[in-house]
């Protein structure tokens, strides 16, 4: 006969396992919530939906636990520990890899993992209670002790996670660590209850494999995370954000900062000066005394950095759709260093609006208009490269003003490039196509347009440049034999030819 006060060693182990199991269960929940908040934003939503899903799944698990037969209790408990350890331990790394490689299934996998973990963790405590019950411990004693250690474990992790684990180990290694703890409980149980377990060898082998995998994962998680980030961006991600309009990712490798929008490279700090010098100076250097400049797109502030070099400029208006973009480039230190705090200059006015809508209501005329919009890869963006749009822009251009349009690559997407030129001409502009070599983009195209037909490319620049000079400018406006103009349709709203050209052209280039 055993009294509650003289608990035997196996029972003590079961109570200890409750503490560890409870710690692990909460840890996976916290890891999933933190990871989702970090990657998807909106932490209130992520945490509450993950906690809700997890608790519900635990209920499902408790319900399912009744289907475990009495004679299998120990073996199933050990199996569940191993499974929880494996899934929970690898969860953060798996999620990170999925997020980096494919945007689509992330949420589905996240909730599937959380649900699976919840079901398994939900089965643990009822099984332990039944194990203790079989060992003739009094019912009130079981409930009191199990639940005490369950809640103690939760407290332990909830304090440890934010103070020690997340900041020092990182999410991926924290998850693996708790996975190892789960596998440890399993191994210990096999040892302690060796007399009661039938397939001891098979279980020991399974547990050892899981433990080796988890330890390996713990050791390699740093490398896996880096690899997954590089899988997409090649470099370490220093900022990732999903806004209502797009996904912004900033990467860093040594001194090279890169911005990706929806996975497309927008600039590399190594050579963006070539792009932005080519975009801005052929226009502004040809407009002595230029005062008012409009930039459509260009929320990175790099074009504005170049514009602000002209002392005559009194006012720069930037219209960019995404407030998250202009906020990022006016607050994050390495990025503001890159655009030299362009958005803090008193001459700059930032307007977060749709360029199409803003032009319909704005009433002012500008000396120079710089259109630095994303490539025309959707019907929405295609409308901002259309003849009616350029006519709308024309109404905002001073009589002797100049405008320039970034217009994809004349080498890789020649139909798309010359379509922009043709459309500007159909809208009543005289055009001056040119191109520049930007190493990270390849040959890139721009078009200057005016009403008068009097534009002459600058032959020299008074301002100091990193790359652009008179000779380079002369070469930019010359199109060699492999980039000659081709006949294409203008981009009409009712045909959206440009979107089609753009897709077909790049489809031929990208494997």
């Amino acid at each position: 006969m055993s009294s509650p006060s003289s608990t035997r060693r196996p029972d003590r182990l079961l109570i200890l396992s409750v503490f560890i199991v409870a710690s692990c269960g909460l840890a996976y929940e916290l890891v999933a919530g933190a990871l989702a908040s970090y990657l998807l934003g909106d932490s209130v939503l992520q945490f509450s939906s993950i906690i809700g899903c997890y608790l519900f799944a635990m209920g499902v698990g408790s319900h399912l636990s009744k289907y475990v037969k009495d004679e299998d209790l120990l073996a199933r408990f050990i199996d569940i520990e191993l499974l929880v350890g494996l899934i929970g331990g690898a969860s953060a790394t798996v999620l990170f890899v999925i997020f980096a490689w494919m945007a689509g299934p992330f949420r589905s996998v996240l909730y599937a993992l959380v649900f699976a973990l919840g079901v398994l963790v939900g089965m643990e405590i009822p099984l332990v209670m039944r194990l203790l019950n079989e060992r003739k411990t009094g019912f009130s004693e079981i409930v009191s002790r199990v639940l005490t250690f369950d809640y103690l474990g939760a407290l332990f992790v909830s304090l440890l996670f934010p103070i020690v684990l997340a900041p020092h180990l990182g999410l991926a290694r924290t998850a693996f660590l708790f996975g190892i703890a789960n596998a440890g409980v399993a191994l210990l149980a096999i040892r302690v209850f060796r007399s009661e377990i039938r397939q001891r060898r098979a279980l020991t082998l399974r547990a050892s494999i899981v433990l080796v995998l988890l330890v390996g994962g713990f050791a390699a998680s740093e490398r896996i995370t880096q690899w997954s980030e590089r899988g997409v961006f090649g470099d370490e991600i220093v900022h990732a954000e999903t806004t209502p309009y797009q996904r912004l990712v900033v990467t860093k490798w040594k001194d090279d900062l890169r911005l990706y929008i929806n996975g497309n490279l927008q600039f590399s700090s190594r050579d963006e000066h070539r792009y932005h010098e080519a975009l801005v100076h052929p226009v502004l250097a040809a407009l002595p005394g230029v005062k008012r400049v409009l930039v459509l797109g260009g929320g990175d502030g790099l074009a504005i950095r170049e514009i602000l070099k002209y002392p005559s400029v009194e006012e720069v208006t930037l219209v960019d759709l995404d407030p998250a973009m202009t906020r990022l480039f006016s607050s994050a230190a390495p990025l503001t260093a890159l655009n030299r705090n362009a958005f803090k200059d008193h001459r700059v006015h930032i307007i977060n609006a749709d360029a199409g809508q803003w032009l319909e209501t704005a009433g002012t005329a500008f000396d120079a208009i710089i259109i630095d919009l994303p490539d025309p890869n959707s019907y929405g963006l295609g409308k901002l490269y259309s003849e009616p749009f350029y006519r709308l822009v024309r109404e905002h251009l001073a009589e002797n003003g100049l405008m320039v349009v970034q217009s994809t690559s004349p080498y890789f997407a020649p139909h798309a490039y010359w379509c922009v030129v043709t459309t500007l001409e159909a809208a009543g502009f005289k055009t001056y196509p040119y191109h520049a070599y930007v190493p990270s983009f390849g040959e890139w195209g721009f078009v200057i347009a005016d009403r008068t037909g009097r534009y002459q490319p600058p032959t020299h620049y008074a301002l100091p440049m990193r790359w652009l000079d008179g000779t380079a400018t002369r070469d930019m406006f010359r199109f060699p034999a492999d980039m000659q103009r081709i006949e294409v349709e203008p981009n009409r709203l009712n045909s959206q030819a440009l979107v089609r050209y753009f897709e077909e052209d790049w489809h031929r280039v990208i494997r």
Partner: protein, 533 residues
């Protein structure tokens, strides 16, 4: 998340909690029945106040639909000064539009096909409005790109997938496809066919079509009888023909005459220099900008609110007893001549001596179809099943009970999709006989109207669609348009009204027997012409 952002979020969610509905609650529905109450007041001869004022004018145009507006525009354009236009119980008629949640949207007709060579009157109007550039009578004029429907223009949900264009193609068998090809071959032939009188068989405006009995005999049988006779039995083809008839006439191939059905396909041959054949002109709020363009050229000073209760012709002129419901006042217009630009079923009650013109109500009054034009204000664009078949301007469900929906923000020039949009769903009501249907419509429960209005949207997007709907505004048009049923071309009373050149003139699409912009404008043009000569 910064502390301040969190507080803002908390404040926003607690505020939103008041206005947001629970997931199982249907969106709020408002039902608008333009002209119904006043029209029935006229029909039932309800007592009205005694006239308190009067006004004398050379010409009074009674009604502000396309026919009345067009007549007024022509008079103003010709420098005719002394005329006025009575708005009527249903201002702007079937070209009205509205604004829902800040998004302009149609509550009536939503597009104009590229005008045919013969629609010179419509071409002149479009040229004046800056929609048509250059020579208005050119074979291929250039049109303002903002008004041409933007790509992608239309798509069809058929066999569980979206396809480009509305003519069924996806998943069709060889015989179905062969019949569809043969049908369009036949249409191409009829488009060029001419009668003994040298005129083309099917022309918009309808009055310029050939009177050769070879063709007009087609107006005595139903369209479905003609399809049967020609061996056009393929269900997808018959659905397409039926859809087109319901979309334009509010009645299907079983009801409309073969002549009207073929007229739909064979009369529209407009071309554009900068768009493909079959393109249409459209605006976010449907055709309302055209109506407003006409109205502003007529001038606000000539517009009078109110409706005609009684039009009495006498030796010196015409007296019109008018009622302004908003002010609850009656007044009298003394006009030398009057253009009755109202539907014939209204004119039958308002014009005292209609029988003198040879018009017999029992014989000549056409049946009319009822429509729902339903605007769904959406919090976000619904998820599309196939990214390669994105939302088009016009979206139709094969075999659907409705006529699909158009997207009010489609013609906006925007980099990103707007936060909110309006889908305008069209439905011609034919689930009850016309009389019973209209009796039901008078007191129809909004929830039942909503179910009728949203059938196609639910078929395409599933029941989850309702969750993104913030608000629904349903416009019920009980007598939306005349049905061009067999016999519609041979109504002596209507021919008499067309020819009338007395103190009272008539102008309305009902004179053509089918309700399209070009026809209404044509009769406005003719009436103005009679006054100006």
């Amino acid at each position: 998340m910064k502390r301040r952002d969190f507080l803002k979020l908390a404040a926003a969610t607690s505020l939103a909690g008041c206005s947001e509905r629970l997931p199982w609650q249907a969106p709020p529905v408002s039902v608008h029945m333009p002209g119904m109450e006043l029209g029935h007041r006229l029909r039932d001869r309800l007592p009205t106040p005694n006239p308190t004022r009067q006004r004398s004018v050379d010409v009074a145009i009674l009604g502000s639909g396309v026919a009345g507006l067009f007549a007024g525009w022509r008079l103003a354009q010709a420098g005719y000064r002394d005329f006025c236009l009575l708005g009527g119980p249903e201002p702007l008629g079937n070209t009205a539009g509205s604004v829902l949640g800040g998004v302009p949207c149609p509550t009536g007709a939503h597009y104009l096909p590229l005008p045919s060579m013969e629609s010179t009157h419509v071409r002149e109007m479009l040229a004046e409005f800056g929609v048509l550039h250059g020579d208005p009578f050119a074979l291929r004029p250039e049109y303002a790109e903002r008004a041409l429907v933007h790509a992608p223009d239309e798509r069809l949900f058929i066999n569980a997938a979206w396809q480009d264009g509305i003519v069924p193609q996806h998943g069709l068998g060889a015989d179905d496809q062969a019949q569809i090809r043969r049908f369009f071959g036949e249409i191409a032939r009829l488009r060029e066919a001419r009668g003994q009188d040298g005129r083309r068989a099917f022309v918009i405006p309808l009055a310029l079509s050939s009177a050769d009995p070879v063709f007009t005999a087609l107006a005595t049988e139903t369209f479905v009888a003609w399809l049967n006779r020609q061996g056009f039995t393929a269900p997808p083809l018959r659905w397409y023909a039926d859809y087109c008839c319901r979309d334009d006439y509010g009645a299907g191939i079983e009801q409309v005459s073969a002549w009207a059905g073929l007229h739909y396909f064979a009369s529209r041959g407009g071309h554009a220099a900068n768009a493909e054949d079959g393109a249409v002109l459209t605006w976010p709020d449907g055709l309302q900008p055209l109506a407003q363009g006409l109205r502003s050229r007529i001038g606000a000073a000539r517009w009078i609110d109110g409706m005609a209760l009684q039009v009495s012709e006498h030796k010196q002129g015409v007296d019109v007893l008018c009622f302004d419901a908003a002010r609850n006042e009656a007044f009298t217009l003394h006009a030398k001549r009057v253009i009755v630009a109202m539907p014939l079923h209204v004119a039958a009650h308002a014009v005292a001596n209609l029988a003198d013109f040879g018009f017999d109500k029992a014989r000549d009054l056409p049946a009319s179809a009822s429509w729902l034009v339903s605007n769904f204000l959406l919090n976000r664009f619904p998820q599309e099943a196939d990214p390669h078949q994105p939302l088009a301007w016009d979206n139709v469900v094969y075999g659907g009970e409705g006529l699909g929906w158009v997207v009010a923000t489609h013609q906006w020039i925007r980099q990103a999709r707007p936060a909110q949009t309006v889908f305008t769903a069209y439905r011609a009501l034919d689930h009850l006989p016309p009389q019973a249907l209209r009796a039901w419509l008078v007191n129809a429960p909004p929830a039942e109207l909503l179910a009728l209005a949203s059938s196609d949207l639910h078929a395409a997007y599933g029941n989850g669609f309702a969750r993104q709907v913030q608000q629904v505004a349903i416009t019920v048009r009980g007598h939306a348009m005349a049905t061009p049923a067999p016999g519609f071309l041979a109504r002596p009373g209507i021919a008499a009204l067309c020819a009338a050149d007395r103190r009272i003139l008539f102008a309305h699409a009902d004179l053509s027997g089918l309700s399209v912009f070009e026809e209404a404008a044509w009769w406005g043009e003719k009436a103005a012409g009679k006054i100006l000569t």
